[in-house]
Symmetry: D2
Subunit: 355 residues, 4 copies
Amino acid sequence: MMIIMKSNATPQEVEHVIEHIKAVGLSVHLSQGVETTIIGAIGETHNIPTEQFEVLDGVEAVQRITQPFKLASRQFHPENSVFPLDGFTIGGEELPVIAGPCSVESRSQIIETAQAVKEAGASALRGGVFKPRTSPYSFQGLGEEGLEYLAEARQQTGLPVVVEIMSQVQIEVMVEYVDVLQVGARNMQNFNLLRVIGETQTPVLLKRGLSASIEELLMSAEYILAGGNKQVFLCERGIRTFETATRNTTDINAIPVLKSLTHLPVILDPSHSTGHFDYVAAIARAAVAAGADGLIVEVHPDPAHALSDGRQSLKPERFAAMVKQVGQIAEVMGRRLVNVQTGEKPQSAIASSHS
Amino acid sequence: MMIIMKSNATPQEVEHVIEHIKAVGLSVHLSQGVETTIIGAIGETHNIPTEQFEVLDGVEAVQRITQPFKLASRQFHPENSVFPLDGFTIGGEELPVIAGPCSVESRSQIIETAQAVKEAGASALRGGVFKPRTSPYSFQGLGEEGLEYLAEARQQTGLPVVVEIMSQVQIEVMVEYVDVLQVGARNMQNFNLLRVIGETQTPVLLKRGLSASIEELLMSAEYILAGGNKQVFLCERGIRTFETATRNTTDINAIPVLKSLTHLPVILDPSHSTGHFDYVAAIARAAVAAGADGLIVEVHPDPAHALSDGRQSLKPERFAAMVKQVGQIAEVMGRRLVNVQTGEKPQSAIASSHS
Amino acid sequence: MMIIMKSNATPQEVEHVIEHIKAVGLSVHLSQGVETTIIGAIGETHNIPTEQFEVLDGVEAVQRITQPFKLASRQFHPENSVFPLDGFTIGGEELPVIAGPCSVESRSQIIETAQAVKEAGASALRGGVFKPRTSPYSFQGLGEEGLEYLAEARQQTGLPVVVEIMSQVQIEVMVEYVDVLQVGARNMQNFNLLRVIGETQTPVLLKRGLSASIEELLMSAEYILAGGNKQVFLCERGIRTFETATRNTTDINAIPVLKSLTHLPVILDPSHSTGHFDYVAAIARAAVAAGADGLIVEVHPDPAHALSDGRQSLKPERFAAMVKQVGQIAEVMGRRLVNVQTGEKPQSAIASSHS
Amino acid sequence: MMIIMKSNATPQEVEHVIEHIKAVGLSVHLSQGVETTIIGAIGETHNIPTEQFEVLDGVEAVQRITQPFKLASRQFHPENSVFPLDGFTIGGEELPVIAGPCSVESRSQIIETAQAVKEAGASALRGGVFKPRTSPYSFQGLGEEGLEYLAEARQQTGLPVVVEIMSQVQIEVMVEYVDVLQVGARNMQNFNLLRVIGETQTPVLLKRGLSASIEELLMSAEYILAGGNKQVFLCERGIRTFETATRNTTDINAIPVLKSLTHLPVILDPSHSTGHFDYVAAIARAAVAAGADGLIVEVHPDPAHALSDGRQSLKPERFAAMVKQVGQIAEVMGRRLVNVQTGEKPQSAIASSHS
């Protein structure tokens, strides 16, 4: 950490900063230039807020040199993290495509969709049961009933299920049912939730907040990693900008930036990042070409009657076409789509406990 | 709601949309122009998502005419809402200033600060005990111990206390101790939290999310109001933009816009909206001049040793100067600062239950 | 255009709006619902500002139905525009890669770079001679001397040259020398400049402004098209958002959105849209996978000594690797990179007039 | 300037950076810490781009210490700049209000408006004659004819006139007619234009670009100052953000931030920064309360028939009410509105040369 003094800082002010650095257990490196004095604070600085120094008299600015995250950092862990995910891996050569409806709406809807997306080449099934809806008057999800239907869909298709958790009070029931806990954009900085997830061993799909910086996304991953859960993968899902032609702006730059900063797998959600089914396939292809480790896509058998997010949902046929295109791009990138085995899945412990 | 058809939409597509409108219980008003057919969907549309129509074949766009919120709307409730708040009111002629540290750090710190801010003219005390921190390595708050100290500060000064709630599991302890529940920017769309707060009768300070639109802020207020809790006041605290000279961009426009859209009181937080103590007084004055109904300001007796947000905290002397300036602006606006009675407050039920 | 009246609008206010619509030559379609009256204004509305109606008493909002641009619209011109560009085409199956330094710095630098990028697979040469620099103390370009060097580079390599025009006073000299006039992001709404360019027949590369919406980009294209110059192609080059990890945020969504709204070719500039050479290849691949019709990339033989934009410039070797990857993605998309003929170009009229 | 080396930088890489620093005429201050080596580059760094160092091998990041602007900086010129402006001053105790229509539409319209705004308390007259319009089909201004009308309005009312310049080719005619050259948001980085303005001695109102940072605004001022024209005042006019409830987001923070960074006067344009007449007075009051040195406001006698910006224009009565409120806020701030003398102005040199 470097503390840059004002050009008119007094020797007393410089001395006071030095004492403050020592008081928090760091060592000091003083550099007196013609225009400015710079004081280096050296040691374990990632857990010391820069503000402590910014408010001292005579200080112009404080600059971090090292990143404020550690466990998530590629400096700390240079190799890509590759996690097993119920029959396949994420972060390595295999490239999973997670697909399914925004919300689980009924038993038949989720089972029908699961079969359709599997046939079209999906490697996992998504479906919300607790829904974060902007309006209190919108459909709020089926709750635990929806989890039962997902378990059944899982058993019939063999697809692992990815479900969003909305609150720390849902952790027990969720861990029992789901293969991957999804943390939604609105909860990326729900630190209480991140902490309880960090105490489980269930893989986590952490979505970037609507206006979260890449650094903040990595700090939220750090919360989970610091709790002991190492199976975190990140998801770019569009950020909020001035452009209104699309629901969000896909930050495609985030793919190569994240891949350089962290060892964690990074996927992209072209449904939320565009908000319109017409643009999903183009952005899915772009994501894989940019180096993404996977995709999560909304698919609904009948978007016009979807209870949520119909506008951005693909029909199964369109999804199948998208998977085919993505597969070709993956090949150019030296990757391959996950090849899901056919036939029913042997009942897993989780699914059987509810049958 | 108006459904605008594509210029090349077929009569069958138009017919299909009309059937869909009727199916959701709305009536139809057809308007066939030269270039375009527009279909009005009339009735209780605020709980029907526009997407249902956007995905139908032949539809170009769907436009809401009425606002998607109702209880929060000034159309529905033309008069300003004025709430009593432990000795004074908010939303009327009186203009409260809530002040205190970002975090409760110790018994002496909060009691000392409470006395200092009271003396300087504050009408309520703020202080966090559960802290949403970006880094898992930062100070996370004193928890219930902090609430005890706040109760003591309250008893000694008579200032009602405003405390942030972070999770639905904290609702019981919070309601017991605090006068106003604060919902922070990161939780503005934590709908589970909004719902449990809606079931209480404790006044709520709802802060705007970092990238929440004004409409989304009002939809979040609608969640609380729909639950039965009518005492909601809103807080502009800065939005995230490209400008990095300040921590956030104070959306001062939100003050007159909110005052025209809603009857709920609106306050401003110049500490978070600027991020730097040097700019707090200027923005506090601007807020009141723009029509804000109050302020919430971070004050710390020793910002350099604050465990959080030191850079944006005012020392008590600076805060006192700010209150004086704000009082003069308030007078021009036909408002007046709350005149807090001196002397100890008679022990309230809440405070005494913990003494 | 639809004028939505306030729920409490009087019959006189409705009548007044109707008169206003007729006065500007439009016809009226009245639609009186239970909650609201909507008045359609039908006819040639694209040149009538919505504001004229927004300020009338009793008006709640005004909504356009048809797009405010016409010549640029795919509705008006459903087929892709394909332009010849000195030996190849843009907008069709061929996919050109324009490459070169930010600034022409010297004769040897531009000729050396031209040869290097041609060898690496570039189809055209870029190079600035009038530089828009944020600081008055930065290198401002070589001016006409730079154009001479570009002409020489063009003659030696056969690559057509793309050069930014900064002001309407440069139009004559530019038209004489360059194959493509580039309008930079800062000049996207320099309407005086757009008008003079519209009067030429030189192809135009129109870059999106830093915070221009997609609609505004198309309106700027409309200025040029309306002047009579039909050879306009558009360039996404990153927009300004809150994210600071990259210089700009590549709006990859803009590629499929523009391709659906307009018939004009669309290319992407991964150098400016990322600001860092490390991310250029990933975003170049993504652009082509998303459907872009070409790329423009900064290449410099010695980025550390570049007088501008060194950080985002590729060395020729890295550029060659990028072209190879992009070529493979193009193939998947059913496109192919332009195959530049080897050998010197026969002296063209433009080049020879200066030799 | 500080060059922060990567933790694994080699001694050769450090040495190479040191040589590079010396080669550009700066001296070196080396600081080798445990984790990182930092190299200070000391001397006149404001005209050296940081990129030169960012691209060198082994460099992690480069940080400026001193600001990249100089003549505009308060460090360089601690006292407020106060300019005389035809009968009053800007930047001192007096607080001018510039008012008038978006566009000069006719002789009678501008003269009528000039008299109305003068009566209501305006200190200067604005009016556009070359209009930057998003659509090529919108009204583009009266050109020189409009300047004649403005000169006449000036003569009749004594109000100095503020007119936007759109292109360097207009400089001669503009300097002859106008009292203040306005540089619009879209031209803030039209560096050719800034340079020609810098060579005049006409006062300049420089508006902030739609997505320009505060630092970039000051760099554009620097262009003009570096040319020799010292009479520059800055204008906050709203920035583009995700919020669509208003046309732009007024960056009220920019007022105190600019006042601390620069000695130049700073005014605010509440018409463009909100886009709606309903919000103009609130934001005008806020601006003055935040420390602005003046205001520029759109006023039109008949907004419904304005050829541009009708929605954000005040009628003269509303403007008069606004001036009254602003005057009271100014008094609290220790400022006062300019008291324009009544009666005709003695013909000035400029006006008489055209009568």
